[in-house]
Amino acid sequence: MDTFQNLLMGFSVALSPQNLMYAFVGSMLGTLIGVLPGIGPVAGCAILIPLTYQLTPTGAIIMLTALFYGTAYGGTITSVLLNVPGEASSAITCLDGYAMTKKGRAGSALAMAAIGSFIGGTFATVALVLAAGPLTRMALEFGPVEFFALVMLALSLLMGLAGKSMIKALMMGMFGLILAMIGIDPVRGSPRFTFGRMELMDGIGFVPVIMGLFGLAEILENAEKPFAQVFIAKIGSLIPTRKDLHDSIGPILRGSVIGTLLGLVPGMTNSASSFLSYIAEKKVSKHPELFGTGMIEGVVAPETANNAHSNGALIPLFTLGIPASPTVAVIMGAFLMHGLIPGPFLFLDHANLVWGVIASFYIGNIMLLILNLPLIGIWVKILKIPYGILFGIIMLFMAVGAYSVSNNVFGVYVMALFGLIGYLLRKLDFPLAPIVLTLILGPMIERSLRTSLEMSQGSLDIFQKSPVAVVLLVLTALILVTPIFKFFRRGKEAIGEDDEGA
């Protein structure tokens, strides 16, 4: 009953004209970022953060989260119409989505994908509402010892799943942690790695770093080849047939469950949810041989799952204060910039904000359904804009975003440097996701470890005294050690096969 009342209070916050506008702007920008090549949700959220400084914290978080789950909708459009995934999570949709386009059924594919996405996103939001109470109560029992162990487990999962090379994932994690050390020490207040520069006293600034690693690096990668013009096939009728609706019920239900559950696991990407739900549909189908030839199940299942995943991934952030993916880590950074610490205390100290944001997920999903069905023509027109223009506009907004973080050109230099680093790391198949997570979580990891050790006057026994911490740390060790055993047993490890990890 409490939950229901809280949700009603949340709707009263989310339905204010101002917050409705923020949800709409976020949903629209999310779809736009999903549609546009050369910019993903991580960079998109990072660019938007400096522009939300002047908003209320509730408005800022509503806008950023709407952008986050909106990208999963937008990514479908290019997958279906162009055979080019706007986001990695929509890559598997290309198989049947583009095949449907070639058959003149793009409209049905897009319509069912949008409906599936809506149901998947809403399902995960219901799960968030139901999980909020129990998870928050559990998290309130956690002290710095348990928090440290929990973050270590989350990071080890992320690194274990970031790519095929654990060594590379760990190296990137360490690199992110080292970057997080720059600035004032969070416990004693002494400067570290600042080289006497005032700009580094507050840290290197995760916004320009992330824009560089994810936004600029992708632009540089696209610049390797000449900018090409796209050709778009006809969409056809947006009204799905009765058979499409009937065939989509099962995939939508299964995709919602798979996406929500995998969203809870740190390190699991949207792409993993899409892929697994596609495989699940193929397994249960009476005609698995027809997948890839334009089956509606092959479009609906992954699209439902990746939207459920996006909303599901917010559950650990809101309840435990743990980001499950790089984009969620950026959203966590936005919370911190607005003076809010995600986690159980958010529900106690800022109930209006947290329930307002949760309620806005329902509203944002409805807005996205409208944006992606009747207004599909607008996105198709945007797709026709030459990349030679788009990349200039993206660079403009990244430069403005990097500058406005601290009203200083230093941010632009940092972005340029990390753009180059990100480009080289991508070429060498290093996963970038661990950098973001550790960069944002670094100060918290350090603070919780040092506070724990100060409590025990430097003794590591404090970790053994907490059963929760012991279980979490043993799991962490198992996740990190298993690939090393495999490596020694096989005597080799594949190199250069990591996915992007973002």
């Binding site: 660079m395 050109v409 040092r450 430097g458 080799k492």
Partner: protein, 158 residues
């Protein structure tokens, strides 16, 4: 490709050695527990060990990376270097010339030279992206983008 992986591994070892060495200047431990140098020292050390393992991996036959060109073609390199150089120039010129003039020139370069767009299209987008963004961001988002530090330009609103 193997040589590039080895060079990057060596660079990573050097970087981690620098981090661990620099951390020694900070307090490592005191009566209360770990000091500011504790975490960076261990991070630098662990990164160094991981980089060393990676170097051994990529140098061995079994761990040899896939073959293939690391660098793109000459035209690709020109586009990448030009984009980065334009961004650095934008940062360097933004304070002396002001946001509007610098961004106008930046966009003209990106759209016309790299993007190969028509002059009229380039000029419209460059104007909206410089003067338009300056005023919209200043008026509606409270993001104050810099005016030129030169009085002659600042006096005419640039």
């Amino acid at each position: 490709m193997q040589r590039i992986h080895q060079i990057v591994a060596l660079f990573s070892i050097a970087f981690s050695a620098f981090v661990a060495y620099d951390a020694l200047d900070l307090e490592y431990y005191d009566s209360l527990g770990p000091g500011p140098g504790f975490f960076p020292f261990w991070l630098g050390t662990v990164l160094g060990v991981l980089s060393l393992v990676w170097l051994v991996q990529v140098s061995g036959r079994s761990g040899r990376p896939k073959d293939g060109a690391f660098l793109p073609g000459q035209a690709g390199i020109v586009r990448i270097v030009s984009s980065l150089a334009a961004l650095v120039a934008l940062a360097g010129l933004m304070n002396p010339l002001g946001f509007q003039l610098t961004m106008f020139l930046f966009l003209v370069f990106l759209l016309m030279v790299l993007g190969r767009q028509r002059l009229w299209m380039t000029l419209i987008i460059a104007l909206l992206g410089s003067v338009g963004v300056y005023h919209v961001f200043g008026s509606y988002l409270d993001v104050s983008l810099p005016l030129s530090s030169m009085a002659i330009l600042a006096n005419i609103g640039l």
